[in-house]
């Protein structure tokens, strides 16, 4: 076992442990703010796994898009909807958790069985390593040109859709009761986050 290989192994084990433990913490922690920041850590660890797989461009895209955009967006959403509310208990919560945990564990067992028993066509063709970025560019502008252009249209539609959905005066009346909804009243009924400072 050479030094490089053992270094790779140790890096993989550490990153895998960070990914799995971090994901468990994201799902299980009570405080949603801790979950959001740990989610950023999980994304960074996944980017590290991509670096171990010789994919520097995708690792950079992962850091830029997931940590830089998605995670920040999630933190902003938490900030906007962060009202302490006492969730009313629901019947059979523990039973539900155990049942879904059993289902997830059995699915995990199925996946592990498939991974262990499938006869993968290893070793594949030799990896091109650091030329991957150039090869991705060739793919994007030759055989994956149509999906690439469609992705730009998709991003435009998502941007417009997000703006339309998050605008204030979209719904003028409540869907259930039919009463007119005053968007201002909802926010004024809560104590403001930053109380006015007394002017001297």
């Amino acid at each position: 076992m050479t030094f490089a290989i053992s270094t790779e192994l140790i890096c993989f084990l550490v990153l895998a442990a960070v990914v799995v433990v971090g994901a468990m913490a994201v799902v299980l922690l009570e405080n949603i703010v801790y979950s959001a920041f740990l989610l950023g850590g999980v994304f960074m660890a996944v980017a590290g796994l991509y670096l171990l797989l010789n994919a520097s461009f995708v690792a950079a895209a992962q850091v830029l898009v997931y940590v830089g955009a998605v995670n920040v967006l999630i933190i902003f959403a938490i900030m906007l909807v962060n009202k302490r509310e006492n969730l009313e208990p629901i019947r059979g919560l523990q039973v539900r958790r155990l049942l879904s945990g059993g289902v997830c564990l059995s699915m995990l067992a199925l996946l592990v069985r498939v991974v262990a028993l499938t006869d993968w066509a290893l070793p594949g063709p030799p990896a091109i390593g650091e030329e991957a970025t150039a090869r991705i560019g060739e793919h994007l502008f030759t055989d994956y040109l149509l999906p690439f252009e469609l992705a730009s249209v998709l991003l435009l539609m998502a941007m417009i859709g997000a703006i339309v959905l998050a605008r204030r005066d979209v719904l003028v009346q409540d869907v259930v009761t039919g009463d007119p909804v005053s968007q201002g009243l909802i926010e004024k009924s809560q104590p403001p986050l930053l109380p006015d400072q007394p002017t001297s």
Binding site: M1, I5, E8, L9, V19, V20, A23, M24, V26, V27, I32, A36, L39, V46, L49, L53, V58, A61, Q62, Y66, A69, V70, L73, I74, F76, A77, I78, L80, V81, K83, L87, E88, S100, C104, M107, L108, L111, V115, A116, L122, G124, P125, I128, A132, R135, I136, H139, Y144, A151, L154, L155, A158, G161, A162, A166, R168, V170, V176, Q183, I186
Partner: protein
């Protein structure tokens, strides 16, 4: 398995990590009561799929790395999904003043 003799990270190890991540994501998706956490679980599941694609692309398709191109497309779609999902969440919160998933029961049959 030659894992214990050579010490090289095998393909199966990446697939196992992805399987764990996917199952954790599904559990969180089912059991979260905070709507933001549901979106986080979806992101976890998308990342699990990405790890699978990248591992296959590196080990089985090393010269034509098509998996990496697919991963980039998945990252694009995930960003769009997160933006629209959080906008829907904000709009729901404005109408309901809660993020409790149990109280979003407009479509309950």
């Amino acid at each position: 398995m030659n894992f214990f003799t050579t010490g090289q990270v095998p393909l199966q190890a990446y697939l196992l990590v992805a399987a764990f991540l996917f199952c954790i994501g599904i559990w969180g998706l089912i059991n979260s009561r905070n709507a933001v956490r549901v979106l986080m679980s979806i992101e976890l599941m998308l990342n699990a799929v990405n790890i699978n694609l990248m591992a296959f692309s590196s080990y089985l398709d090393g010269d034509l790395i098509r998996g990496q191109v697919f991963t980039i497309f998945v990252i694009t779609v995930a960003a769009a999904e997160a933006a629209v999902g959080l906008a829907i969440l904000l709009s729901l919160y404005r109408n309901r003043v809660t993020v409790d998933m149990e109280r979003f029961n407009l479509l309950r049959w």
